[in-house]
């Protein structure tokens, strides 16, 4: 048996110590998890989605637990890009983990302006890459619309690509009829990597009041309940594109992460599980290493997309 293995992967030109990243919206701005996690050990940190101006978010109730999952309708509440730069990013300077900023907007111009602004400060503030959210189901205006149409996906990613040289990860929605065409459009428009899946749109009803349980009526479903859907879509996209795929969806233990990697994900993002077990990222990193050693795999890249059919 080997006694050492290599966990390093490269995503969109970003070198990661290991394939474990934090999913946007589930890890705050990083600092919140410092009591539980040595941030230096993470593959990368993706912070809470940011918009040009601060966003208030949706009224409560914003979250409801569902069988093996949860629905959320936070509505992208965030401090806005300027406060992110001023108050959140400086703290992360002392860690050597790549910081990736998840960006959202209502118009192409807003995405472009955000990418420009973050590009300006990228060296000084340690912004390593951007994850473009074209798939948020919980905001009124465009939100998910970009990510459900191949032409719109191409248009927006192409515009951002022309603006910035920062590595671009495009986060895809599962709420589409054919994810392959969207994935291809993003790749053709210049995406360096794809991350999937964002949440599935869902709803719950209170039978006593006959009102929806979420104030926003609908929300995004996440957690173990969505994992099989996510795995299937990751596998589909992995076969379709030539850029790296990042798997997201219901990963709560090491076996889940390994499933995604075998199905084609070069890295994974951990989301909802952070709420249940704040140390889950570290436990999964350790678990992946143990699996590789036990299975005589010298380099994690050998495992990526190794599913036998």
């Amino acid at each position: 048996m080997i006694d050492k293995t290599c966990l390093k992967v490269e995503i969109a030109g970003i070198k990661l110590k290991n394939p474990v990243m934090t999913a946007s919206g589930t890890f705050g701005y990083g600092q919140e998890y410092v009591p539980f996690v040595d941030l230096n050990r993470l593959g990368a940190m993706i912070l809470k989605g940011i918009t040009l101006k601060p966003k208030m978010g949706n009224p409560p109730p914003r979250i409801i637990e569902t069988p093996s999952g949860m629905l959320n309708a936070i509505g992208l509440q965030n401090v806005g890009v300027e406060m992110l730069i001023r108050e959140k990013l400086p703290y992360l300077q002392k860690f050597n983990t790549p910081v990736i900023i998840n960006i959202s907007g209502d118009t192409i111009e807003e995405y472009v302006e955000l990418a420009e602004r973050l590009g300006e400060v990228s060296k000084e503030m340690g912004v390593t890459g951007l994850e473009v959210n074209i798939s948020c189901p919980n905001v009124k205006k465009r939100g998910m619309v970009w990510g459900t149409d191949a032409k719109a996906t191409y248009e927006i990613i192409n515009s951002i690509r022309k603006t910035t040289s920062l590595p671009l990860i495009v986060k895809l929605t599962p709420n589409v009829t054919n994810i392959k065409t969207i994935a291809q459009a993003a790749e053709e428009a210049g995406a360096d990597a794809l991350s999937l899946i964002n949440t599935l749109v869902g709803m719950t009803v209170d039978i006593d009041s006959r009102k929806p349980k979420l104030a926003n009526i609908s929300g995004g479903l996440s957690g173990p309940a969505v994992k099989p859907v996510a795995l299937w879509l990751v596998w589909q996209v992995f076969q379709t594109v030539n850029i790296p795929v990042i798997g997201i969806g219901g990963i709560i233990k090491v076996e889940d992460a390994l499933e995604f990697i075998i199905a084609g994900a070069r890295a994974i993002e951990i989301g909802t599980a952070n709420f249940v077990n704040p140390r889950v990222t570290i436990e999964i990193i350790e678990g992946i290493e143990k699996y590789l050693i036990e299975n005589n795999i010298k380099d994690i890249n050998e495992l990526v997309g190794s599913m036998k059919i």
Binding site: G25, T26, F27, G28, E32, Y33, P35, F36, K48, M56, G57, P59, P60, P61, R62, I63, I64, E65, P67, S68, G69, M70, N72, I74, Q77, G223, P224, I252, T272, N274, F275, V276, N277, P278, R279
Partner: protein
């Protein structure tokens, strides 16, 4: 504020104190050291991942000497049902202490504590701390009926004067706990601070009464919660913003877990 810990603690005892309401005692010296009344702990009720999310519980009592904390909870869903079934000696995965805690002003001499139903949960620790600081404390509690009155003896044993309101009149005052509060003010017992926890309709009324009587009021709020550490932004409530340039009430969303769970009563925007 002290750091939030994620630790495993032993269940020392658990019993159903009134129908469907449980008192659980936990060995948690790491938590009692810094815990404040009004703070809560975030408990993983299940041993596996179903139900998935943790559940927040107010700290009912803090015994610093023995290193023990108590929680008092009502079984309302799958999480609390599983928690009630956990047995003595079990390890419980908890995060805490979380939140800001009640703010008892040094200059306050008289304290009024009002709890509705399971809302008494965070108030016993508050009562104990107030009395430890030498305050005169009165407690008003409400329940649907006599069998569901919680904590009356515990508050009295600490040295507080306790009055009870029941919806059906099966014990003491028939009616609302807010009737008792108005009555005490009419009789001239004016507290320097009112602390309250319970249903939103009750809290709203208490805040109105406190504003009329010019008494400072703090309320403990709850909301559906996921992470408990300020990351997910799930547990927000509407809090008035300081800027009062316009006539319209302006508000922002504050996190119950990190900015609360205790808020100034006059800051809260109560939705109808």
């Amino acid at each position: 504020m002290s750091a939030i810990l994620n630790i495993k603690v032993k269940i020392l005892s658990g019993k159903e104190v009134v129908p469907n309401i449980y008192l659980m005692r936990l060995k948690a010296p790491e938590i009692t050291q810094d815990a404040l009344s009004g703070q809560f702990i975030h408990i993983k009720c299940s041993k596996d991942n179903y139900p998935l999310l943790r559940r927040p519980f107010s700290i009912h009592r803090i015994d610093k000497e023995k290193g023990e904390i108590f929680i008092l909870f009502q079984v309302v869903g799958e999480g609390t049902k599983l928690l009630a079934q956990r047995v003595v000696g079990d390890d419980l995965d908890i995060m805490g202490p979380i939140g800001n805690g009640f703010n008892i002003y040094p200059e306050s001499r008289k304290i009024m504590i009002v709890g509705g139903g399971i809302g008494v949960a965070p108030l016993l620790a508050l009562c104990e701390e107030s009395i430890r600081q030498g305050k005169e404390v009165r407690v008003l509690i409400s329940a649907l009926k006599k069998e569901l009155v919680i904590g009356e003896e515990s508050f009295r044993n600490l040295g507080a004067k306790v009055d009870v309101a029941t919806d059906d009149g099966s014990y003491q005052h028939k009616g609302l706990v807010t009737d008792l509060l108005e009555g005490s003010i009419r009789e001239g017992w004016l507290a320097n601070q009112i602390f309250a926890c319970g249903p939103k309709s009750m809290l709203k009324k208490i805040v109105e009464i406190s504003l009329d009587a010019h008494i400072d009021c703090q309320v403990s709020l709850e909301e559906r919660m996921a992470c408990g550490i300020g990351a997910c932004l799930g547990c927000v409530c509407k809090i008035k913003t300081k800027d009062k340039k316009e006539d319209k009430v302006k508000y922002e969303f504050k996190k119950v877990c990190e900015d609360g769970p205790i808020f100034g009563g006059s800051e809260v925007v109560w939705d109808d």
